[in-house]
Symmetry: C2
Subunit: 227 residues, 2 copies
Amino acid sequence: MIHTYSLVHDDLPAMDDDDLRRGRPTCHKVYGEANAILVGDALQALAFEVLARGVQLAETAVACVAALAHAAGATALVGGQADDLAGQTAVQNPVQNPASGDLAALEMIHQRKTGAMFHVSLRLGGLVAGADRERQAALETYGRRLGLAFQIADDLLDVQGEESAVGKRLGKDSNKGKLTFPGLLGIDASRQYAQRLIDEAIAALASLAPAEGRLAALARFVVERNQ
Amino acid sequence: MIHTYSLVHDDLPAMDDDDLRRGRPTCHKVYGEANAILVGDALQALAFEVLARGVQLAETAVACVAALAHAAGATALVGGQADDLAGQTAVQNPVQNPASGDLAALEMIHQRKTGAMFHVSLRLGGLVAGADRERQAALETYGRRLGLAFQIADDLLDVQGEESAVGKRLGKDSNKGKLTFPGLLGIDASRQYAQRLIDEAIAALASLAPAEGRLAALARFVVERNQ
């Protein structure tokens, strides 16, 4: 739900200004901007309500709420999105922020903007299942690598995908002069980097059999998807 | 923090479109719309993080998170705000929604839009302090009455206040054809109604001495304030 809220807000005219998401009109196109802001706000609250009411052990529920709130907050999801938006300005005015073209800066943005939600999703799964420390660490490593690979794949789709398959307007990140992985590394190196991250994500799962099979398939899908 | 987030989002151009709040430029006027949306999102997450990390007993923290999430969600704060925005359209097109002029409908909107936050603030205070059932009920009655009285006082300031004292643009609710208490009841009856709610709020505090003194003063301030 946090993820869906952030996508609804992300598509707003003041943010990424997207008309399509997965081939369908975005929330604000159908219901108006005010309702889209409110839908996102309500979904964020609902995510915390589900954790508070749905997780049985109180100590586990509290740990889940703290982890999700941190991942959704100013130092992670929101901070990454703010820096991503600021980065667009920075690239258009490189003198203002000479370090903005840096790969490390781009990774920092996406570890927070996209990666934090992947990471915390795996973290919550481990917490609720009562995973031991080693398995918890394995899940979190998997989540971090997967999140970054997902973003690189997303950047690649933006320059190479078919709009009809991806279901949203493409080419807009590069047209906006936004920092992207293909823009910094080139297409081939970006593809190799995403594949390496997926290999590392799958390697981290070694201690997790039998869950390993599905998570590995999910990781492969992230770099092979065309939508 | 939930309250502040909701005010930041409430002031956005797509919502109430306010340039001033407490005499100072609103968040989106200073930092832009995208940042104002993100600030609100981050503050909502922070509210849950503070509860999860700050409330000592896990069972109490979970109860607080559930109560706050419910009050901030689709059936309370967000639902009330959505109906309030829809009500503006309904009043302009009364044929579409002939019941929209009804006092009960207006109270339902504000019990959720404003009242839920007052109510849950008192509820959380009681939960964290370990109040018994009777005191908890007293606090919640006080919160409900106070919330509604606050909204009536707000409507009265909108038609009768001094902009320099209130610190925001006035007269805009009535100019928009928005449902308001003075619009439905007239000014004198609205004032009497707010006073009756404050009397009931203070009466509910009888079992709470010595906290009673400060809460009663706060209730009186709500109807006597000029800002």
